[in-house]
Symmetry: C2
């Protein structure tokens, strides 16, 4: 066991450079804990000349990550390029086919192709590990796969995109509009090149799909995640939610229902005093609920060089220690293919709409709700803006299907201007 | 790998019965995740006849846990008897000597004899696992040993005794005195047979010593934990702390200093808005800080049949999966013996004392602080009670040594009645 474990690192962005830095700085500590030294044989990135703040001179350079993945002096292929398709996918496949274990931070790759890759890894008797793909430095994959292994998991939920939580927090704290908070986050470099990955909930949806596969023993199914971004949230929504004791979070929720697997990534109201409600700024939080353990809450940095590289290296040290667990916690053949259930679990909803200033308008809206079996918990109509009056309604528990029928019904009343905002109130 | 993993369970209290219940209820799930079935060969407890709410008829009974630990049909000895000495110690030693792995929830045993047992396990090429010994259902041993393995851990802190946190929360929320809250906790069955284990900080101190050994790669050293219970805390302290934006928690803190390993379990003030400050009731919270990852917060149930048995079974499933990590994360011979540093890290302190109603009394107290190099951040003297006036002082950062000198100095002024309360203000 004193043979070094040799890494090939593809991708030298923030995270890749962070991994190199840890391997260099903590060589002694890693060797002691892992039971064998960890070394870097070769690295690969798009641009060779760039200064990345770490010394790379001791490592071979490969222009092609696929070539890197196949090198005989690489035991573990560390995939930090990102992107759901080639070259990340091809290089990962090449690594597995060449008998290497794979450690990756690539949530998109695994959310879209995870099941096939897990099968391939298993056929090759190799591992894919991805602690860094979900919630950055929080060891949530390990907590779920290993720490809660004796539980039937009942629900997984969390705030898994720090950028969205930063925007929502700034809207609340500084009274910024969505556009202002978005611009601020952009200026700080918090947004992905395609901001929809963040504010559209896609990035967080990838993470949720990975957690759900482990939690419920199912084939990873990103297509089954119901996605809704934060772009429609206004300061007014945030204020009204606060008035009622709630905060708005881009919340991922996965749970198994009698009708299939429900996976949602959408802005929700959560109690302001709950751990999720109290989460401010760019921090991530994942809540794991199991039939034996009850509720476990994990909180920590969801991004950044140090935290993400910490998670990558935890996977590497696990491999050095000989820890070998199937990709999604079960042999790939045992993962069940289940159908997606759209918001099967009933919940109360927060509704905001602009009512045209016509006699009987409110009664028409109330009747639509009643006709769809939705009862009203509270309603508030406040200060007119020109020809429309903003109306807020909090419903009692209802199904999403009934709510959708009601939303369609509102449109037919001709007293509601524009599409209403409908936010689920999640019990946490 | 399809050979069943066979357990021998010693101790059938709440946790033991919970473990039996999980093995029975989740047999399929455990076999799928662990890669092999988990079975119970034999059990042991003090009283055979007692109804424990689970069916035990399929298992052999042993009156003597040492005999149980040596049975050839036991692969893993599950020690849930508790107590730092025999029979728990003898049975654990017998299990290791007979080639069994050991899973235990026994913090006292490991805090006092952990290093010797870890050495013995290593010589026998066996494991001791103890996820359930710290913070109940929270997978904190795993998070620290494996999840943060690539970090130099800088600090570990937490609220690890739910009973104490319950008492302090009830004092704050319901305005109960310490004695009233204690009696309430006792009535609810929250207290150990010897309540000092809880309110004296001993139980939580055991847990802290285990975390510190893993975090800093040191021989477990419970004798080096500075212990202070919550018995001296008054409602007034809680109210005054709240006024300044703090809450009082029985807080464990471990960190490596230039002068040795500092381990403290004592009531501290923490910001009311911090995750630790927001922790109410019987829940546990552990905060792990590493040089790469920053701060990770773990929150969950610290006691109870389900949560504790969940942690025990996570260890069992790890063993079924072939996960083998040294007891404290490093080979026992590599654990360093370090000296204990008493409160080496400076901090501000909250002081409450009763001042005799004499001219110049406050000036004398202030001079003692000044003479010991301690400067005052705020001071408040309020409504007289008979012949003494309560005085509150918040100091700027000072060492505990300087503070102790000042406390001794107060006694010599003859203007301070009784011993002052001195609570550290911990930055979290």
């Amino acid at each position: 066991m004193t043979q070094p474990l040799r890494l090939g690192i593809a991708g030298l962005g923030t995270v890749g450079a962070g991994v190199v830095a840890i391997v260099q700085r903590h060589a002694g500590l890693i060797a002691a804990r892992g039971g064998r030294p960890v070394e870097i044989s070769a690295v690969s990135a798009r641009s060779r000349g760039k200064d990345r703040g770490v010394a790379l001179g001791d490592y071979d350079w490969e222009d092609d990550p696929v070539t890197l993945a196949r090198r005989p002096d690489v035991d573990v292929f560390v995939e930090l390029m990102g992107g759901s398709d080639d070259p990340a996918r091809a290089a990962t496949q090449a690594a597995l086919a060449s008998g290497k274990d794979v450690v990756t931070a690539n949530k998109a790759l695994l959310a879209l192709h995870g099941h096939g890759l897990a099968q391939m890894a298993e056929e090759a008797d190799r591992l894919i590990r991805f602690e860094a793909a979900v919630a950055g430095g929080i060891p949530v994959i390990k907590a779920l796969t290993e720490g809660l292994a004796a539980n039937e998991v009942t629900r997984v939920l969390g705030v898994m995109n720090g950028t969205c939580n930063y925007i929502l927090t700034r809207m609340e704290d500084a009274g910024l509009t969505y556009d202002e908070a978005f611009a601020e986050a952009d200026g700080l470099g918090y947004l992905e090149a395609d901001p929809q990955l963040d504010v559209g909930g896609i990035d967080a949806g990838h993470k949720l799909a990975l957690l759900a596969a482990i939690a419920f023993g199912t084939e990873v199914d990103f297509a089954g995640v119901e996605l809704e971004g934060i772009g429609a949230i206004t300061i007014e929504d945030i204020r009204q939610a606060a008035d009622m004791g709630f905060r708005i979070k881009l919340l991922g929720v996965a749970q198994m229902t009698g009708r299939g697997l429900e996976q949602r990534m959408s802005p929700c109201l959560v109690p302001a005093t709950s751990p999720l409600g109290q989460l401010q700024g760019g921090t991530n939080m994942v809540v794991l609920e199991g039939d034996q353990v009850g509720q476990i809450v994990l909180r920590g940095p969801g991004a950044g060089a140090g935290p993400t590289a910490s998670a990558v290296m935890a996977d590497v040290i696990d491999i050095a220690r000989g820890i070998r667990v199937p990709t999604f916690g079960l042999p790939a053949a045992r993962l069940r293919k289940v159908r997606a259930a759209r918001a099967a679990v009933p919940a109360p909803y927060y509704l905001r709409m602009a009512l045209l200033d016509k006699p009987g308008a409110l009664a028409k809206v109330a009747r639509v709700l009643g006709d769809n079996g939705i009862s009203i918990d509270r309603m508030r109509q406040y200060g007119h803006e020109a020809t429309t009056a903003p109306v807020l309604i909090v419903t009692h528990k209802t199904t999403r299907a009934a709510l959708d029928d009601a939303l369609a019904g509102f449109a037919e009343t001709n007293v509601v201007a524009g599409p209403p905002v409908a936010l689920r109130i999640e019990s946490v």
